[in-house]
Amino acid sequence: AAQDKVKVGVFPISSSLPYFVALEKGYFKARNIDPETITLMGGPANVAALMTNQIEVSAVLVTLEGLNANVKKPGVAMYIAMHSQTPEYKMEQFVVRTGLTDKVKSIADLKGLKLMSAPGPANLNTAKGVLAKVGLKDGDYTIDQLDMGQHVNAMKAGTFDGGYTLEPGATIMEKLGVAKRIEAGVISTYILGNPKADAFAAGCAFTSDFIAKRPDVAKRFAEGWAEAVAFIKANPTEARKYLAKNTMTPDNVVDEVPMLGYTMTKDMSPEQLGWLQQFADFGTQIGVVPEKIDVKKVVKGF
């Protein structure tokens, strides 16, 4: 029989790893699924495509953007898997320019410096929230949001003293010796208030249309995804190989780029759901998600 086609929006960054593992290891094919990869850069493009049913799956959708989209159009992005970032599974972090490493040992030492931030109000407000938690007020520092493509440049050129950045930029910076990591997993530590807490900042989402109209295909797709997650957990080193080929990760940092805590939503513990809810509420608090949302309504376990 013909394979079931599934249209997948893919933002080729390291967070999409399970998708590429599943694809390359044939986990989808084995379930008679033929995914069509549609490269879509960033949240707005993915959300627009989800809303108009031009894709059925978004391989990486930033949680706050997904929640927001669900406020605008309920059920447009149902998370079937989430990627957690913590001090261990490094993603978001503060860095400081090499020349200042002696002076700046902790986030609080960033006082009086010129900072950059990953772009978008979610990132900017997260950075500001973290800085506030360590006692830095507006005016103790300056912060400008900057396109991720420019972060390494800006550090190299000394345009900024440090800032809030994401992977793989931070690893590249360390590798090049232009900047040093101060602290990663700041959402867990400062926003959720627990270094052990999972910050589910992004995940893989289906449209409810997809779930409703082709429940069987959706289920099989989710299973393929779960198998990939399991594989990554078991063989992180081998899994990294797929980063170099499919995502915008430089070859020379492939072996160092941190992994994320890939989790299927069906496997999420009540505690984890609580952290997700807490993160969602933070989004509402900073105004990125326009209203309070019950996260149970946007996750779908298969």
Binding site: M51, T52, E65, L146, D147, Q150, A154, V288
Partner: protein
Amino acid sequence: MIRRLDAFLPLVGVVGLLAIWSLVTSRGWVDPVLLPSPAETFKAFWKGMDGGALGFDFVKTVYRTTMATAIAAVIAIPLGIMLGSSERLYRSLEFVIDFFRSTPASAMFPLFLVLFGVGDETKISVAAFGAILVILFNVAYGVMNARKTRLLAAKVMGASRLRVLFDVMLWESLPQTFVGLRNGVSLALVIIVVAEMFIGSQDGLGHSVFEAQQLFDMPRMYAAIAAAGALGYGLNLLFLTIERRFVHWSGK
């Protein structure tokens, strides 16, 4: 009577645009979440302009665009006349002009970021750079297509190369210069907005568009886009008015 109505002609376009927009949204041809109705957009526009952030962003963008265009005009017009007056000089530099005209100014951000930092300077200089190329190109074209007899007339009266340049070529190229200026100001605006979107900005219409986009606040996003478009039209209208006053002889 008809003449007096002519002043309202631009409204035809506005109304037409709004009508199509209304139709598209009211019929649900496009998801209203992705394309809000004109009414909703106008509400967001009004809210933003009336003491809201949009008014402030608007002013910021006006300032940057004006600066960029002014710088571009001051550099590009004399240069364009010079280049246009010497076919061989122009041919030598054509590669550079066409080259940079065809690369996205946003690709130049990293370089300008390094050179000028993240302040207004970077945005204004990238935009000026883009506008210079367009104005230069148009002015040079205008000069190259100047009516030969007029150049000869000045020459035979003993005008030096420089005088011919400024007394004849400058004037002959004016209609085309205004085409360049209008293209240039629009491009400068576009680049400013894009720069505000992508390089660290806390204000400006681009910032507004970007933030609204990230927040899926589509009415606000389209309000900001509309503000940018209206600004562009306004600046174009300004140049058009100046042109009408000064270039009275076109086609004669």
